[in-house]
């Protein structure tokens, strides 16, 4: 039992990332009808926003520390972040420590801006072209974005730690009445899961309970009619693209402490997220979220020792296997609607 709970927990953080990226992909697909291969790149850019913020916060100037000397007896020069001077040493240190959560505030406007530029600048011109062209141009864009990041940040992963308060693990088993040390779970993964739930809820609430969301949903159902009613649906869809970019970006920001960001992390996640979207059902938002968590958890179950002994290599292929089975037995995915992406 404890082993099962542990695997479910382990699957949650990856599942959250899948769910968030797939949610954004589905938002874009459902509103604009575009298959966005550059969505993984947006996830990656989000992660690098966090890297940039933490670098900016630790921007330092050299100060001569009179109290300490180096081995030659000269006064020691120490790097002091500018932020210490502005907020005092303890507040400054706390701000640097909390760089990743702070990045969220910066990532939202940055990612929305990038998303809107992307939609207005490039994707807009591809609505009338075949899906294959959309895939290809966004694939090209993903390569370009990835190479730009590589040029500025190098090819190596950049460790970006979580705040001190969330470093380390806690004994989840003891909390829910199992033996001590049976289920050890890192704090940050729980934070990530909670965060993704908040984002997912926020997106759904936004679509469900605001007038803007209502118009967008109407546009998803029948774009032409909404346009005929005198509503500028294109503008709203552009904003939705921005929001989808922000969702991917935030998933990236929060993922940095789990996995040090590198320039190709987006592509790695993209392939799996597409599988998630297809399993969930093209154009279905709840489907994308459910499939994200489902596949994340399945993946973690498949990597249990007992399962691998039974079917060797299953941990490597489980996601693809599930995708193939689902696509062949339920062509519309778990919760796909009729008439979406069907020629």
């Amino acid at each position: 039992m404890d082993a099962i709970i542990l695997q479910i927990l382990n699957g949650l953080d990856k599942g959250s990332a899948y769910a968030l990226i797939a949610l954004g992909l589905t938002l874009i697909f459902g509103t604009l009808g575009v298959v966005n291969f550059a969505h993984g790149a947006l996830f990656m850019i989000g992660a690098f926003v966090a890297v940039t913020v933490s670098r900016l916060l630790t921007l330092s100037h050299q100060v001569i520390d009179e109290t300490r000397t180096d081995f030659l007896g000269n006064p020691l020069k120490v790097d002091v972040p500018y932020i210490y001077g502005w907020f005092g040493e303890s507040t400054g240190a706390a701000i640097i420590d909390w760089a990743v959560p702070i990045s969220i505030l910066i990532a939202i406007p940055v990612m929305i801006l990038i998303g809107v530029i992307m939609e207005r600048g490039l994707i807009k011109h591809f609505y009338k072209r075949p899906h294959a062209d959309q895939i290809l141009v966004t694939f090209g864009l993903a390569i370009v974005l990835q190479e730009i990041i590589k040029y500025f940040y190098g090819a190596n992963p950049i460790p970006t730690p979580a705040p001190q308060a969330f470093v380390g693990s806690f004994d989840f088993g003891a909390l829910i009445g199992f033996d001590a040390n049976s289920i050890i779970y890192p704090y940050w993964r729980l934070v990530y899961f909670g965060f993704s739930m908040v984002i997912i809820t926020a997106v759904f609430a936004f679509l469900q309970f605001t007038t803007f969301g209502m118009v967008v949903r109407a546009g998803m159902a029948d774009r032409e009619t909404v346009g005929l009613l005198g509503i500028n649906i294109d503008k709203r869809f552009t904003i939705m693209f921005g929001i989808a970019a922000a969702v991917a970006g935030l998933a990236g920001v929060m993922y940095t402490p789990i996995n040090s960001p590198n320039y190709h992390m987006g592509m790695d996640f993209l392939v799996l997220s597409f599988v998630v979207v297809v399993v969930g059902g093209m154009g279905s938002l709840p489907g994308a979220v459910a499939a994200g968590f489902l596949l994340g958890i399945l993946e973690s179950f498949a990597s249990m020792g007992a399962v691998i002994d039974l079917i060797p290599g299953i941990n490597q292929v489980i996601i693809y296997l599930v995708a193939i089975v689902i696509l062949l037995t339920r062509p519309r995915g778990l919760m796909g609607r009729k008439g979406v992406m069907e020629e």
Partner: protein
């Protein structure tokens, strides 16, 4: 001749000429000169040009004609490579059986995957092929290690039980691949003045195979079967209403293109008997997509051009570093030189992928017919300027596709 009309024959002869004289054409700069680094006429790279040309031609038969975008074609190339190496390990170092088994195994594998994947179309088809390829990659990398060599890749060893042939040469090394005695690494070097041209046996074998593959693809493009594949692309519904079942045609196209990929894999291991799982990774599949689109999907010569261009960039452009750039711009005043180097540097050397990505995007946005369409547009521009009274302008605009 050979069942081709005059235009296609000329194209085939042109390609044959380019391929046969490639050692000259690709080595335009004398040895030791500053521009010698742009020479691409060394055997290893020339082999890669034609092998990836075959791969791209095959991919084009599927994507260019039927419009089914496969994101998992590298799996067939990988499977073909493994089969080829096994043939060399068990039977003989002669490349012919190895290449044959590669084609057969890749064909069977693509029949299986195609049969399942082609039940869906559009994005679903792309995802299914991608999923299958990623699965093959993951399996080759982990569980199938006894069969594939896992992370280190599958390579020949000194104690392979080779039935027809020896496990090790007298000097105690692994025997080399050969074509009925002609060793693949045999080269004939011709020095003309300060130029050095290398004629490699392996390259010419690949080139001959590539010409045959190219000829077959022309025949497929011009055959009734090719027309059916185009019908699949333009309107499946209409095709069904006329009483034709599109499924067997697309499956046949898929298997043919899978066999082309296997052929490329077999040739690859014939040149260098080593097969690794990374050949099946989805980025490798993405690369062949880039090749076909960049050159011009649905055209005959486009994919070959695309393959050549990408491999040239990968091997030549990526070698240029900032020192060389400084040399180039040395004639400029110092300040401007530095500015130029900083401006150009991100696009070359290690950043060649950036150039590739930008080029690819530009082609997809502005030239959906790829470089071939670009060439045609330029040619038409000149022709129109040359002979305005000529009526062929109207005729030309009608037959833009294919070439």
């Amino acid at each position: 001749m050979l069942g081709l009309n005059k235009k296609d024959m000329n194209l085939l002869l042109l390609v044959a000429g380019l391929v046969i004289f490639a050692p000259f054409i690709l080595n335009p700069f004398p040895e030791g000169s500053e521009l010698a680094q742009f020479n691409a006429g060394y055997p290893d790279l020339m082999q890669r040009f034609v092998i990836f040309g075959i791969f791209a031609i095959g991919f084009n038969i599927l994507f260019g004609l039927t419009g089914y975008l496969s994101f998992g074609h590298a799996a067939f190339l990988g499977v073909g490579s493994y089969a080829g190496v096994w043939m060399m390990k068990l039977l003989t170092m002669n490349v012919v059986p190895a290449i044959m088994i590669s084609v057969v195994v890749a064909g069977l594998f693509s029949l299986l995957i195609g049969y399942i994947s082609l039940r869906r179309s559009g994005i679903y088809f792309s995802i299914l092929t991608l999923a299958f390829a990623q699965m093959s990659f993951a399996l080759a990398y982990s569980v199938l290690t006894p069969l594939t060599g896992g992370e280190t890749g599958l390579q020949l060893s000194l104690n392979d039980p080779r039935v027809l042939g020896i496990s090790a040469t007298e000097t105690g090394s692994i025997p080399v691949t050969h074509f009925f005695g002609l060793e693949m690494r045999d080269s004939f070097e011709l020095a003309l003045g300060s130029w050095l041209f290398t004629f490699n046996a392996g390259y010419y074998l690949c080139a001959a195979v590539m010409l045959i593959a190219f000829y077959l693809s022309i025949r497929i493009f011009r055959s009734p079967f090719g027309m059916m594949l185009r019908a699949v692309k333009s309107n499946q519904q209409r095709m069904k209403y006329t009483g034709l079942n599109p499924k067997p045609y697309t499956l046949a196209a898929f298997v043919i293109s899978g066999m082309y990929a296997g052929l490329a894999g077999g040739l690859m291991v014939s040149m260098d008997p080593l097969a690794g799982a990374e050949r099946m990774f989805w980025t490798a599949s993405g690369e062949v997509v880039l090749m076909a689109i960049l050159g011009g999907a649905g055209t005959l010569i486009g994919p070959v051009l695309g393959a050549g261009l990408i491999k040239y960039m990968e091997n030549i452009l990526s070698k240029i570093n900032s020192t060389i750039l400084h040399e180039w711009f040395a004639f400029m005043p110092d300040g401007i030189e530095d500015v130029m180097v900083t401006l150009v540097y991100p696009f070359i050397g290690k950043g060649w992928h950036l150039t590739l990505g930008i080029m690819f995007m530009l082609v997809v946005i502005f030239l959906p017919g790829g470089l071939v369409e670009g060439g045609q547009r330029i040619a038409r521009l000149f022709r129109r300027r040359g002979a305005k009274t000529d009526d062929s302008g109207a005729e030309q605009s009608q037959n833009t596709p294919a070439e």
